[in-house]
Subunit: 299 residues, 2 copies
Amino acid sequence: MKLASLKNGQRDGSLVVVDRKLTTCVGVPQIALTLQQAIETWGVAAPKLKAVYDQLNAGTAAGAGPFSPQRAESPLPRAFQFLDGSVYLSHMRKARKARGAEMPANFETEPLMYQAVSDGFIGPLDDMPLPTDELGVDMEAEVAVMVDDVPMGITADQAGKHIKLVMLLNDYTLRVTLDELPQWDGDKLNLPLISFVNGKRIGAPHAGKDMYFNYPQLIAHAARTRKLGAGTIIGAGTVANKDEAAGSSCIAELRANEEIENGKASTPFLKFGDRVRIEMLDEAGQTIFGAIDQKVVKA
Amino acid sequence: MKLASLKNGQRDGSLVVVDRKLTTCVGVPQIALTLQQAIETWGVAAPKLKAVYDQLNAGTAAGAGPFSPQRAESPLPRAFQFLDGSVYLSHMRKARKARGAEMPANFETEPLMYQAVSDGFIGPLDDMPLPTDELGVDMEAEVAVMVDDVPMGITADQAGKHIKLVMLLNDYTLRVTLDELPQWDGDKLNLPLISFVNGKRIGAPHAGKDMYFNYPQLIAHAARTRKLGAGTIIGAGTVANKDEAAGSSCIAELRANEEIENGKASTPFLKFGDRVRIEMLDEAGQTIFGAIDQKVVKA
């Protein structure tokens, strides 16, 4: 099942179901007005949404129309919580080396995770407005999951069942799903994540490889001393592989590689007018989430 | 004007207006169902809420009933953002000394601020459920503000006008207001914040003194490279004064004082069954926000 939120002039957008090929969609106000409402009532809402999805794929859904990614909000345009981990250790090592910092003492026993900004995500094709492009603007291509209500103290064994949706994320977010993904093994998503800057491919590291902690482990870590509200988004940090041939999901890492090889970084951080594209394709080359494609602009 | 949210079995509670003395309240579904809805439409909602508040104080509000703090949720039971600063430097110095850390290099030029948990606040008289009391459980008595939509890049000069509500907060939150407070000078709240552990007063530092950055400066700092969504809560960190006679708003600081004076800390962190009380009184001794009064319990 694939879900999106369309721009409607409201802060939370309007929930639509999108067909597998991302060509048609249909509003589902009779089930839930917003994705937040759907995730809060997932047990009841999910089977109804699935029925609409099946009709949509069969071409029989009443009221269906074309799906335009330009009209898409972030799947959840604002969230009560966004927790971002950093579990691809080769990324963490490079990012820290670049700024002369050591790895944290407990990096092998406890996932590094922080509370991230969640009060407003931009849409997958929206401009990225910034006050200046002199602050080392970077992208970070990630795979994130969304959970329903998670009780405090849950174990990693039990945490997986709270994962309801998967999405791509550019330290901002695109389109959402789960049962849809044969490449999802319950703990991680086994596909390369492809990143471009101004049309140039900068990397396609495999999101299922070299993941030191998986999503259920991240959820259990976050819920150790508190419960997590429905609609909490959990990222796993910038996707990176040990194999440098896989390329990078952010510019900081490219620059770290350049420093190590040439003594100085040559790839610039993002400037106004630069364009970032992040996408994941299935084995047949079909886009799964649709692309995040965003231009940096002056706010 | 004083606002509260009452427990109603929903995630966001129901908004009520409370009279100045905190004895009666009235629901306002015709204006806004929730505080989130009110803050998103503040320009329209505030004058209507104020009219109800005036009627309530005059004893003429239709449908008014007794206000029971036991039924109160946190004013905003969940928020899309909670940013917590640390602007009382004597607290930061002690907390860092206690763990052997240095002050950050730029502590005098940039406020220390972090993204805090906001997906679920407990009510002012609710139990504080924890999986264990072996993790150095502490309280932190703070004064926080709530803003409407804040544009990116706002200056501190302009940020103050976005502050709509003021509340007490125990790294968790209680009851909300603003024009109500003659002690609010536009930048900070000039009253002592009184904290108790198990009925013993541990301090009453003055929230308007020794505040190295004020609320508009914190807001401008947070909005430097992004806008802030309506309903964002901004804390200023644990209230602390240079004058140690004012006492403390958390246990970590008491322990730091004990270490410095006696070579070892004797005040224990919170255990199951311990009770925390945080309150602010006006010059006449009248409670302004009502008290936060919470017991630590096993989750």
